[in-house]
Every structure is written in structure tokens, then in C-alpha cells.
């Protein structure tokens, strides 16, 4: 039985022989999308964070078999199109957050999910909602960029 889902807006079918593969490895090795990273494989570090039905999920701990009918968004699918970036990506660029950059796709995906549920996060909200590891400890700028992204998103939604 194939598993049918959406990946970055596109309908795909995954053969059942992949049903036990963790989503992370399917995304990276089979779908060739390298933005989502491997850090630990046990759901602790968050480098593998992507969205399943708009919720932040650690993909190393999700078997493909559980994904029938789901919509997955990876860092590659976050921007509307090639010429624009998601406001969170824009904020990340404005603040110049990354150091080595390895964790940042996961951080961005976590921030997007946080801001979806908490559009004006306090420092406590950020502490609770942003639990991804950054080994370079770029937390000061991740915090600043999350707040900046909130400002950008709130400003654009106010215009509507």
C-alpha cells in the first residue's frame, strides 16, 4: 500500500517498502531535500524539525507509515516562491543569526510554528517554544530574530 501525502505542496506517493523509514531519512536521502538535518536521531536536538500539518515535528522520530494524508513542509518549502522569503527567514537574515548554520533550518521551522500559535511571544514563550539545540549558542540572536519576525508578521496582518 502506498503512502500518499503532500510534500512542500506537491502530491507524492511513497512505496510501502519505505513505511518504516524515519521521515528524516526519507526527506534527506530519498527526496533529496538536505535542509532538514540529522543531529541525534532520538528527537532531542531538533535539527530535524519540519512541519506536519503546520505543527513542528522532529522528523527523525516519525515513521513514514504514519503520514498518509498529511501535508509536510520542509525549510525548502517555507518561502512562497523562489524570489521571496518567509518573514521568519527575512528576520533571520536581518539579525544575521547563524554561526555554523547547521541547526538553523530547524530553528526557523520551530519559530514559524511558535509564531503561528503565539503571534506575540514573551521571553518565557520563546524559552518554552524554542527548545532546539544550537551548539554555537546563537540563542541571543535567535531570540531577537523570533521577536523581529513577530513584528514583521503582526505588521503585515494589521494591514489586512
Amino acid at each position: 500500500m502506498t503512502i500518499k501525502l503532500r510534500l512542500n505542496g506537491k502530491k507524492i506517493s511513497i512505496d510501502s517498502r519505505y513505511e518504516n523509514i524515519p521521515l528524516l531519512w526519507y526527506i534527506r536521502e530519498e527526496a533529496g531535500l538536505k535542509g532538514t538535518k540529522f543531529g541525534c536521531g532520538i528527537g532531542q536536538c531538533g535539527a530535524c524539525t519540519l512541519h506536519i500539518d503546520e505543527k513542528a515535528v522532529r522528523s527523525c522520530s516519525v515513521p513514514v507509515s504514519s503520514l498518509n494524508g498529511k501535508a509536510i513542509t520542509t525549510i525548502e518549502g517555507l518561502a512562497r516562491d523562489n524570489n521571496s522569503l518567509h518573514p521568519v527567514q527575512e528576520a533571520w537574515m536581518e539579525i544575521d543569526v547563524p554561526q555554523c548554520g547547521y541547526c538553523q533550518a530547524g530553528q526557523i521551522m520551530s519559530a514559524v510554528a511558535l509564531l503561528n500559535t503565539t503571534p506575540s511571544p514573551t521571553d518565557d514563550d520563546i524559552d518554552r517554544g524554542m527548545t532546539n539545540i544550537c551548539r554555537c549558542a546563537s540563542y541571543v540572536r535567535i531570540r531577537q530574530a523570533t521577536k523581529k519576525a513577530a513584528d514583521i508578521l503582526n505588521a503585515s496582518s494589521e494591514k489586512i
Binding site: K37, C45, C100, G101, A105, T131, Y139
Partner: protein
């Protein structure tokens, strides 16, 4: 105009490629870079840097220095682009740095182009002269060409953002217009002038990371992201205990996993390396090779290997070793004297107050977020290696040493690293991939799992330091430091050496076989933790404010020799200025609420000075780190934005290490080998902000990768003391507090 006579070392090459000027310049070695290069290389090497200026004035540049989050991919080009007066915004950067090596007639290897290495916070120091000269030479070629074409003196020409101007005749030309012509130009590099500080247009600017867009859009960048044609995926199940050998494993079960192709045994290997002397460098292991990484992982998980350990390395136990260190330092164990100034005995006899304390720091893990990985394609007479490495020349050396292939025939593609911290300076993971590819006569990509990275680490050594120190009239008069540790030495030429007149350091003799290696600021965290804690304790014993006490210690400004690696001189005045700026930024004298306290600590390493004040709150057995303020003196600040980022990240890295980082080795095996047993600091554990002052002066640029990390531990325990009256002398700090760890 024809060329003037040029010596061999002034010769440069440039050629035209795809309609663009591909610039390759051979530069005379500056004395600074020359000191890095063995004498036998100096006379013979081709030094050059690649830069392509197209007719449409666009520029493609290869950023030469390896990147591990320390921003050298950005800083390197800034230095060159400034001297060349390039339009920074119009530069496109290639993704990778390629290895180019040369050999002298005695067979010694060196980089043909800019020094690619990163480590010891030295990348800027190694390339400051070279990259600027490369840019200046290219500019000179362009303006001399323009001068010829226009028939005007060179002195009347100005350059700005990739354009040459002759204001008198109101003429201008794009670099791209003249590039082809300029590429033929010979110049006398003895007449090449470098800019003065006031002329810099790019250096000194808060510039953003050149790879920002690639990073935030998830473009494949790291070694672990790379594919290679016809390449098998390999995961190696290595013996967890140091010294162990394979007894048996379930080969059939592994081969039964769909996609698994081969099972290869990997030999245990000892080697002698700079940190630990002779010890195990590569573990015995079973490599599972498959057509997909997931198949290889599954194959590895079915192996169920049995090991035996009859080696002399068996039964390494980190807690037992630390206990032994305590005994050695406190009970006069055999030791080598490494520093002895003045007469500590007399100083102690004359003292008003004597303190004696023992400071303990455990083994630290690197915990690189991108686990080690390497693609190796070993062919008959040449090879290709793809990985991230801090010292890429070592990769070519490894291939040559273990396959006989000439190092000059090794293609190395250097990828940015998902963390380096000294671990990616080693050779082991490259060697494994090379040996595996050689064995199977096919390309292979070896990927390490998290457990592999934690277990096969070369840890920052565990160390125990006893300090006995004396006060007379509120001044430190004597200091006797005894240290025992897993490997390496002591940073005993750091402060307070020099400012304390009677000063003695002894390193106790002990041979551990727990592999140890360079961590961020090797051995500086251990030294700074002990020294800046004791300085704090002395201040409190003397009834003097800890900030004032440090100022009195460091002033008047004096310079002293620094005799360990990384610097030749240390300046107590520059150290004092860091303390002062950090304290001012923190509003040191402002009263804090109850249960809240400030701690101050500073350190000099690798030529730079850094000091921090951190504010913590201690309540109901819980520790909260509120905020921090830091000051750094790294001489000329090339990119204040990234210096600030290093201060933020480096300091929090130091805090996290002091708070949480402790590796336990039992029967030779790392016990806490995953992120659910080894906790890495999160957002909630970090201060809300780290404010930074970058001190301005006329010193040449020095590094910022490591200086912010070393003072973190002491600043933290000093703040905890101020907040709670409790003095912590054993790391990790978290063992003294309640802490909520979140496991998903």
C-alpha cells in the same frame, strides 16, 4: 610598458578564463606568514588567490579559509576586497574552498594559496597580510593599466567600488572594462602599498554572513549533505571501550537487510598525536556498507557485536582518575615544575592571609551538531575527499600516508563545518574513510551517528587544580598552582603570571588513556576557571570589591612575555581595560535585588583579551542566568558584527560547558553518549542578552573564536557566590542545583 625585472618571488600569474580575468598572484611571504611556513618551503612555493572579474564588472570569489561558524568565509574576502576596492555587494562567492598544495624540493607540503587553516583563533593573523596584499596587488595591476591607457600618472587615479576614476579628466572605467588588459600586467610588488586604517571601506564594517541566504533556505552545504557518484553509504559500529577488539558479530543479520552490500572489519589503530602522546586513535569496528544510509543504519543495528578488551587501555575510568588527580595535587604527588618566579615560600611565610582551594573540571565533549562524516574516493594514483576540516592539508597527508598516493594528486573539497571546536582538526574520521575506500576499491561515504561522535571524541581533558595563594596588605604576593589532568598541559603563562611576583606552577605526572584533544581554547577554560575563581576568593577574603581587586592587580599597565602557544606578549593594561569596560557596561556598582548577584572574570588567550560580567539569580535551589556584559580587545576589529556574535556564542558556550558538560567514562566507554543523557544548554538556559563592547585601539587584529569562552565558568561561579554566598569549585555547576531538562 614592459615588465620590470622581477625576482621569482614577485612573479605572478594571471590568465583569462571564460572571458573573465582569473587572477592568480604569487606574493612574497610576509615575515608573519613566513614564520608559519617551514624554512624549506619559503623559497619555492607559488602563493596565489583566485578571483574572477568579468567584463560586466561582476566578481566571483573563492573564499579561501575553512568555515566552522567563526565567520572566516566572510572575514577573509573582506580583507582582500577592501584593498582591491571591490564593490562588496556585487561579489558572488563560490560554495567551497578547494585544497591547493605545493611541494618543495625536499618534499615538504604547504598551501599554494592563502593559508586555509582555522584554529587557535589564528585565521585572521595567518592571512591578514597575505589577503590584503593580494587585493592591493590586483588593484595596482588595474590602476597601472588604466594609467597607461589614459596616459596619466598612477597617482592621479582613485578606485572605489570596482571603478577607477580620473577626476581631472572626468574619466572612469569599470574594473571589468580593464580586467583582460590588466591581467597581462607585470608589476613590482615592492611598490605595492597597503591601506592605512583610516582608508578602510569594508574592514571595520558590520558585515553580514555571505552565506545567509543559503543557510536560511536550507541549501545543502555541509559534508553530511553531499552525494557522490557510485558511492556506498557506510556506518561503522565501533568498539565503545577504548582498546577493545572484535570478538564476534551477526554478519548474516546485517547482510539480510535490503540494501546492505558489504561488511568490512576496521582495525584498531594507535597513533601518537600532539595532545595525548601515544594512545588509541581509531577504534576497532565493523563497517556496514549499503546503497542507502538508512539501510546501513539498520544493518549496524542488527550486528550485536561482542568485544573483548585485554589491552593496556582497558578500564579507563574518569571518576577514578579525577579522584587520583585530587590526591596528586593535594598530597605532593610527583610533578614537573613548569613555572617558577620569585620565592613563593617566603611570600607564604610573610602573608596576612593564605587561601588554598582545589578546583575540578571534568572531561568535556565536543558534541558537534553535524556528526563527523567523510566521502573518500581512493583511486589508483589519485583521490577525492569531501569533508569539513579545520586543517585541510592534513587530509592530503592522510591519503598519502595510508595509500601512497601523492598528496598533490588528492582533490579535497572543503565544506563548511557544522561545528569544529577543535575536534575537526583531527585526522581519525578521514583516515577511516580513506582506509575503507582503499579496501573496497570504490567510493564510500562514512557517516557517524550521534553515539559515535560522543563515544569517539577526543575530550577536553579533565583536570584538578590546587591553588595556594597569599595576600599581604590586600595584594596577591604568592601563587602556587598544582595541576593534574587527563592530557595536555597547563596554560601557565596566562595571568596572573607576571602580575603576581612569586609564582610557581607544577604539572603532576599521570598517564591517562582516555583520548583527549583540543577543545575551544585548549586548557584555557581549566586555567581561567581556577585562576579567576581564586582571584575572586582572594578579593572577598581581603574585603575588597572583586572588580576593584582585579583592577589593582592588573594596573599599572605592564607587559610580560607569554611563553605558551598563541601569543608572545601579554599586557596587563589591556586586560584591565577589558574588566573596566565590562564592569561599566554592566553598571557594576548598581545594587541588584536580593538573591541576585554579579560575577566578573577575564582571560587573555591567543592574543586577545576578554572579560565578562554575568548576572544570576539563585532562589529555592534554582539558578537563573539573567544577562551578561562583555568586553573584548582583539585589536583592529575587522567585522564588529561577527565579533559580537562570537562574544555572544562563545560566552554562552562557556556557560553551557560550565553548567552541564561532563563526560563519564566507565570501563573505557563513554556512558552519556546521547542527548538524552548528555544535556546541551538550550535557549532557556542562556542569558537573555550578552551585551558587548569592542575596545578600539591601534593593535593589529587578533582572534575572537576562543577568548570569550574561557572566562565564562569563573564569571558564573563568582556570580553564584555573590548571589547566594555559595562557592562552587567543582564543575559542572548544575550538579549543585535543580534543573528541568526537557525530553521530547
Amino acid at each position: 610598458m614592459s615588465s620590470r625585472a622581477l625576482g621569482r618571488r614577485e612573479f605572478f600569474k594571471s590568465s583569462v578564463v571564460s572571458g573573465g580575468w582569473l587572477l592568480a598572484i604569487q606574493l612574497p611571504l610576509s615575515t608573519k606568514t613566513a614564520s608559519r611556513v617551514p624554512d624549506d618551503i619559503k623559497e619555492s612555493s607559488d602563493w596565489s588567490i583566485y578571483l574572477s572579474i568579468r567584463p560586466d564588472n561582476s566578481v566571483i570569489m573563492e573564499s579561501p579559509i575553512t568555515e566552522m561558524g567563526q565567520f572566516m568565509r566572510t572575514t577573509g574576502p573582506m580583507m582582500l576586497a577592501d584593498e582591491l576596492d571591490l564593490d562588496w555587494e556585487a561579489i558572488k562567492f563560490t560554495q567551497d574552498a578547494k585544497l591547493h598544495l605545493s611541494r618543495n624540493k625536499e618534499g615538504g607540503l604547504s598551501y599554494s594559496h592563502a593559508n586555509m587553516d582555522t584554529g587557535g583563533s589564528h585565521s585572521v593573523r595567518w592571512t591578514w597580510e597575505y589577503l590584503r596584499k593580494a587585493g592591493a596587488i590586483a588593484r595596482q595591476m588595474l590602476i597601472e593599466t588604466a594609467a597607461d591607457v589614459w596616459g596619466v600618472p598612477v597617482s592621479e587615479l582613485k578606485t572605489k567600488k570596482s571603478v577607477i576614476y580620473h577626476s581631472t579628466s572626468q574619466r572612469s572605467a569599470l574594473y571589468g572594462d580593464l580586467a583582460l588588459h590588466a591581467s597581462q600586467r607585470r608589476i613590482d610588488t615592492n611598490t605595492t602599498r597597503l591601506k592605512t586604517k583610516s582608508e578602510f571601506k569594508i574592514i571595520g564594517n558590520a558585515t553580514h554572513n555571505i552565506d545567509l541566504k543559503r543557510i536560511v533556505t536550507g541549501e545543502p552545504r555541509f559534508g553530511i549533505d553531499m552525494a557522490y557518484p557510485n558511492c556506498l553509504q557506510a556506518v561503522i559500529y565501533r568498539a565503545p571501550a577504548v582498546g577493545a577488539e572484535i570478538v564476534s558479530y551477526n554478519k548474516t543479520a546485517a547482510l539480510a537487510i535490503p540494501g546492505v552490500k558489504k561488511i568490512i572489519e576496521m582495525e584498531r589503530m594507535d597513533d601518537s598525536y600532539w595532545f595525548s602522546g601515544n594512545t588509541q586513535y581509531i577504534a576497532a569496528g565493523i563497517a556496514v556498507l549499503a546503497d542507502s544510509l538508512w539501510a546501513a543504519i539498520q544493518g549496524r543495528n542488527t550486528l550485536n557485536p561482542q568485544w573483548k578488551n585485554t589491552s593496556k587501555y582497558a578500564n579507563q575510568n574518569s571518576e577514578e582518575q579525577i579522584k587520583t588527580f585530587h590526591t596528586l595535587v593535594t598530597e605532593d604527588g610527583p610533578a614537573k615544575e613548569t613555572q617558577n618566579f620569585g620565592d613563593t615560600k617566603t611570600a607564604f611565610n610573610d602573608a596576612d592571609i593564605i587561601l588554598q582551594q582545589v578546583y575540578e573540571k571534568p572531561l568535556l565533549a565536543h558534541a558537534l551538531l553535524e556528526p563527523l562524516n567523510c566521502i573518500a574516493d581512493i583511486r589508483d594514483t589519485d583521490a577525492t575527499i569531501i569533508t569539513g576540516h579545520q586543517f585541510p592539508i592534513r587530509i592530503a597527508e592522510e591519503v598519502e600516508r595510508f595509500t601512497g598516493i601523492d598528496a598533490l594528486n588528492v582533490e579535497v573539497i572543503c565544506k563548511p563545518m557544522g561545528g569544529g571546536f577543535g575536534r575537526r582538526a583531527e585526522r581519525d574520521w578521514v583516515r577511516e574513510a580513506v582506509l575503507l575506500s582503499k579496501k573496497i576499491k570504490a567510493p564510500v561515504k562514512v557517516t557517524w551517528l550521534r553515539e559515535d561522535e560522543m563515544e569517539r571524541d577526543l575530550h577536553d581533558p579533565a583536570s584538578v587544580s590546587q591553588i595556594k595563594a597569599s595576600l599581604k596588605n590586600g595584594n596577591i604576593t604568592g601563587w602556587h598552582h598544582r595541576q593534574a589532568q587527563t592530557g595536555g598541559g597547563a596554560q601557565d603563562s596566562c595571568f596572573p603570571q607576571g602580575v603576581v611576583p612569586n609564582f610557581k606552577v607544577e604539572l603532576c605526572t599521570f598517564k591517562s588513556h582516555i583520548p583527549s584533544g583540543a577543545w575551544r581554547g585548549p586548557q584555557h577554560p581549566a586555567w581561567a576557571f581556577a585562576a579567576e575563581s581564586m582571584i575572586d576568593e582572594l578579593a572577598h577574603a581581603a574585603g575588597i570589591d572583586p572588580y576593584q581587586f582585579r583592577m589593582d592587580l592588573m594596573l599599572p599597565a605592564r607587559t610580560f612575555p607569554h611563553t605558551n602557544w598563541g601569543a608572545t606578549i601579554k599586557d596587563s593594561g589591556r586586560m584591565a581595560e577589558c574588566y573596566k569596560q565590562a564592569a561599566n557596561l554592566a553598571n557594576w556598582s548598581k545594587a541588584r535585588p536580593k538573591h541576585t548577584g554579579l560575577g566578573i572574570a577575564g582571560h587573555f588567550c591567543h592574543g586577545s583579551y576578554a572579560a565578562f560580567v554575568v548576572e544570576v539569580a539563585v532562589e529555592n535551589g534554582t539558578l537563573k542566568i539573567n544577562e551578561a556584559w562583555g568586553a573584548i580587545d582583539c585589536g583592529l576589529a575587522i567585522n564588529p558584527n561577527h565579533i559580537r556574535a562570537q562574544m555572544e556564542g562563545g560566552f554562552i558556550d562557556g556557560l553551557n560547558a560550565a553548567l552541564f558538560n561532563k563526560i563519564n567514562v566507565v570501563a573505557g566507554a563513554v556512558q552519556n553518549n546521547q542527548f538524552n543523557t548528555f544535556y546541551l544548554g538550550r535557549m532557556k538556559d542562556a542569558p537573555l542578552d550578552v551585551h558587548t563592547t569592542i575596545i578600539q585601539n591601534n593593535h593589529p587584529p587578533t582572534g575572537v573564536g576562543e577568548p570569550p569562552t574561557a572566562p565564562a565558568a569563573a564569571s558564573l561561579v563568582n556570580a553564584i557566590y555573590a548571589a547566594s554566598g555559595r562557592r562552587i569549585r567543582t564543575l559542572p555547576v548544575i550538579e549543585s542545583f535543580n534543573h528541568e531538562e526537557e525530553y521530547v
